[in-house]
Symmetry: C2
Subunit: 219 residues, 2 copies
Amino acid sequence: MKDQEWLAEILQVKDEEKLTDKQKKIIAAAIEIFSEKGYSASSTSEIAKRAGVAEGTIFRHYKTKKELLISIVGPIMAKLIAPFIIRDVDKVLKKDFDHFEDFLRAMIENRREFIKNNLPVLKILLQEIPFHPELKELFMEHIAKKLYERFKRVVEHFQKKGELIDMPSNSVIRLTASSIVGYLLAKYILLPDARWDDEKEIERTIAFIMHGLGAKQSF
Amino acid sequence: MKDQEWLAEILQVKDEEKLTDKQKKIIAAAIEIFSEKGYSASSTSEIAKRAGVAEGTIFRHYKTKKELLISIVGPIMAKLIAPFIIRDVDKVLKKDFDHFEDFLRAMIENRREFIKNNLPVLKILLQEIPFHPELKELFMEHIAKKLYERFKRVVEHFQKKGELIDMPSNSVIRLTASSIVGYLLAKYILLPDARWDDEKEIERTIAFIMHGLGAKQSF
DNA sequence: TCCCAAAATGAGTGATTACTCACTTCGATA
DNA sequence: TATCGAAGTGAGTAATCACTCATTTTGGGA
C-alpha cells in the first residue's frame, strides 16, 4: 500500500466520533487486510497484530467482526452520492450544464479523485455486497435508487431538449453507465499498471456516448 | 437454485474423467455453496453434508479445498473462449461476417446461452480471481490474452475496411466490451429479477456501439 | 497529586476449521 | 465366487476462529 490518502478521507467522515489513535490503526489495518484477502479470509487476530493492538481492543469498539466491516464500508456509500444530493440536481441542470456532454465530463472529473482515494474501501464494498444482505439493501435502497432517480431526470431533461435519442431512459442510463464504469474499472481494477492517457480516454468515452446516444436518429 | 443446467454443462467438460456419482454430487454442492457464501466462508463439512457424503470423501478426490475450487472454475475458462479457438478467427472474418455489427450480434448470441447455463460458476470465478494468484494468472495468460489478440485482429480488420472509426484498438475494444459486458452484468447479476426485452436491449446495445464507433467521423 | 471512567489488555472459551488415517464397502475381472 | 484396488467412511487432530472478561493502564479534571 504505497498511497494512504484514503485513510485521511475515511477518517474525515468519522471525525465526529473522536476516534482513539488505536481505533484509527484498527480501521487502517482492517481496510488493508480486508481488501487483500477478502472479509471472510481475514481474521481479527491478524488485524489486531497489524494494527499493533490487542485483539480485545477491536471488540471493545465493535461488537462483532461484521460491525467492523460495516463501519468501514457504510460511510463510503454516503460520500459516493454526496455531490448528487448536496447540490440539487434540478439546479445543476438548469444553470450549470448546457449539454449532456458537459454533465458527463463534470461527473467523471468529480468522482475520479474520490475513487482514486477510496479504492481499497470501494474494492471491499464491491466484493462483499453479494454476501451481506444488510449491505445490499443499504446500497440498493439508499444509494442505487437515489442515483437512478436523479440520473433519470437528467436524461429525460436532455431528451426533451432534443439532445438525446428517443430511447427508454433505462437503456440510456445502462449504456452511459456501462461506458463510464467500464473505463473506471479498466483503469483502476483490471489494468492498474498499464499506461493511461486519461484525458484522451475520457474524451473518447464521452464522444462514444454522445455519438451512440445523440439525437441524430431514432429507433 | 431453480435451474441446474450448468451442472450438465460442467460435467460434460469433465466426462473424460469418468466421475463417480458421489463426485458429481460433491461438485454440485460445492458450486452451490461457493456461489452462495463465497469460497472462504464455505466449509468442507457443509459441502459434504449437502452432497450427502462423508467429509473424507472430498479429500479422497481433492488434496485440498483450493484444488476443489480450481477443478470447478478451471474448465469453465477454456469453454469461455472455445468458439474463438475452434473456428479460426481469420476464416470467421473473411467468410461469415460482412460487417462488424454482424460479428457483434453473433458473438452475443453465441455466448448468451453459455453464460446463462454457467452463471453460478462464472460468479465464483469473478469473485475469487482477485484472491488467488494462480487463478488470476491462469485467466490472464490463457484467456484474456488470447481473447484480446483475436478481438484486436477483428477490430483492425474492420478499421481497414473503413467500417470502424480510426481510434486505438485498445480503446475500441474497451468501449465495445464495456457495452456488452455491461448489458450481461445488468441482466444476470445486478437486476436478474427485472423484466428484460432481450431482443430490443441487444439491438439497442449494438446500435449504440455502431453509432459510437462507426467510421462517419474521426478523432 | 489524586482520582476515576474510559481504553486497552491478553489469557482463556468453546466452536469450527481443513485435513488425516485406519478401516469398511463396492464393483469389475478372472 | 474369490480377489483386489479404488471408493467411501467417520472419528480424530492440531490449529485457528470470533469473542469474553477480569484485570491493568492511561489521561484529563479537581
